[in-house]
């Protein structure tokens, strides 16, 4: 009987939801900048978005150390591809497939990387992978509690002609909802835009605006 390693089956420092939406001119990813230590909001200005190569962005939730490991892995494969100097470029879809194999391989060794990832790339690519290695492409993705709170909102608002700026506003609204309801979410967020041509814009962390807490006063009056 193989002894089960347990250290990676209990995440310690964790990131919450990641959101993504496909738009008519590119793809948008969004997440907050918090890495929680249990219920403690431990690291409040970390980035969960990563650009390993031109035209590709990955974002992840779950165990933050595993996420950093995955970022290093993707950096390495792109570096190896670059050193080949054969003019061949690893596509976002190839990276998505590769990461799915990495996560599936680790779960099959009973030593999972405890993350769920969203992969965005040029050519309007948006994919999602969970810690079991389940991978799919979709016009709207949300991981963690975002799959319950944000995904229905994104699906409801989504349409084929959604522009990237509208996509950003849509994801901001979802992050706002998550900030209201997800105890592991933060007001400080980051957004990444990947245009069809591969132009990547990752914002600096900024605070969500237009937060409405009046309903809390109403609850007190009752």
């Amino acid at each position: 009987m193989i002894e089960t390693p347990t250290h990676t089956t209990e995440p310690i420092v964790t990131g919450s939801s990641v959101l993504g939406v496909q738009c008519v001119d590119g793809v948008v990813l969004a997440c907050d900048t918090l890495a929680s230590y249990g219920s403690l909001a431990r690291f409040q200005r970390i980035t969960r978005l990563h650009q390993p190569a031109p035209g590709v962005v990955i974002a992840g939730g779950g165990e933050y150390s595993d996420l950093q490991q995955l970022f290093r892995i993707t950096d390495n494969i792109f570096r190896q591809e670059f050193c080949q100097e054969d003019g061949y470029e690893l596509s976002p879809r190839a990276l998505h497939s590769y990461l799915a194999r990495v996560l599936y391989g680790r779960r099959s060794r009973m030593d999972p990387l405890y993350n769920s990832l969203a992969v965005a790339g040029k050519g309007r690519f948006l994919g999602c992978i969970d810690l079991y290695g389940t991978a799919f492409e979709s016009e709207a993705v949300a991981t963690g509690i975002g799959a319950l709170l944000a995904l229905p909102l994104i699906r409801k608002q989504w349409h084929a002609a959604l522009a990237m700026d509208e996509g950003v506003r849509l994801l901001e609204e979802c992050l706002r909802v998550l900030y209201y309801r997800d105890c592991r979410a933060l007001r400080s967020v980051q957004v990444a835009k990947v245009s069809d041509s591969g132009e990547v814009l990752i914002s600096e962390p900024y605070e969500l605006s237009n937060l409405q807490w009046k309903v809390a006063q109403a609850a007190e009056e009752v």
Binding site: T4, T6, A100, Y104, C128, Y132, G133, T134, S138, V141
Partner: protein, 244 residues
């Protein structure tokens, strides 16, 4: 001695087992059930392989468009319900094995050989099973007759005329049995019932049972992918199912 109450933990347990019982530590499961229903049906000169496209995790639906079917050759199509990641793995290695076979033998693998290959592949993981419930459908290259194979997760398989697996199995299989392979109709002999079913009728029946399964099974729905295998090749059709 194996009383679950920590107060009854005896010193006869090894320390690791004891720690697990006392801390109520649950071991992480590498499996997840992503639901979904798959079906295969064989007529005299065709086979149908169908599956819904919903990917469920518990009560949520991460994807409404997640294919469960892979076309292996011009004569064989495979559909798998169960765990999404295991299915993707299984489909990937089967496709690569068939590619190698093509290079080595300069021909496609026959339906019977694919059926056995799938069984061996599943059984090679007997003690860490691939959590996928497969139905394989296709036509015999020599006779042109349709055949389907049903599997369990560890490779037991059976050559049949009609089979359904996955979360809607309990809803769909009895209907198929009664309509196509049942023993309750005395007007038409068993062997003629399947033979007299045309492809168009079979597609209609498949659509009906998937619509029925989607009514009651929350893990089945969104869309139906249907592969019809005939002597002239494989045709894929898509129909909407209820999305709630």
């Amino acid at each position: 001695m194996s009383h679950p109450d920590p107060g009854f933990v005896s010193m006869s347990f090894d320390s690791d087992t004891q720690r697990k019982i006392v801390s109520h530590q649950r071991t992480w499961s590498p499996y997840v059930d992503n639901g979904g229903t798959v079906l295969a049906l064989a007529g005299r000169d065709y086979a149908i392989v169908a599956a819904d496209t919903r990917l469920s995790v518990g009560f949520s639906i991460p994807s409404r468009n997640f294919t469960k079917i892979v076309q292996l050759t011009d004569q064989a199509v495979l559909a798998s319900a169960g765990m999404g990641a295991d299915r993707q793995y299984l489909h990937k290695i089967l496709r690569s094995r068939l590619e190698i076979y093509r290079y080595q033998h300069q021909k496609e693998m026959s339906l019977g050989a694919i059926a056995q290959l799938l069984s061996n592949t599943l059984y090679s993981r007997r003690f860490f099973p691939i959590y996928a419930f497969n139905v394989l459908g296709g036509i015999d290259a020599n006779t042109g007759e349709g055949f389907v194979f049903g599997y369990d997760a560890i490779g037991s398989f059976e050559k049949v005329k009609v089979v359904c697996s996955g979360s809607g199995q309990t809803l769909v299989q009895p209907v198929l049995d009664q309509q196509l392979a049942g023993r309750q109709k005395y007007d038409v002999p068993d062997d003629q019932r399947m033979a007299s079913l045309s492809l168009a009728e079979a597609i209609e029946l498949t659509r009906d049972v998937f619509n029925s399964a989607a009514e009651r099974d929350i893990l089945t729905g969104d869309a139906l992918e249907l592969y019809a295998v005939t002597a002239s090749g494989v045709r894929c059709e898509r129909f909407e199912l209820r999305r709630d």
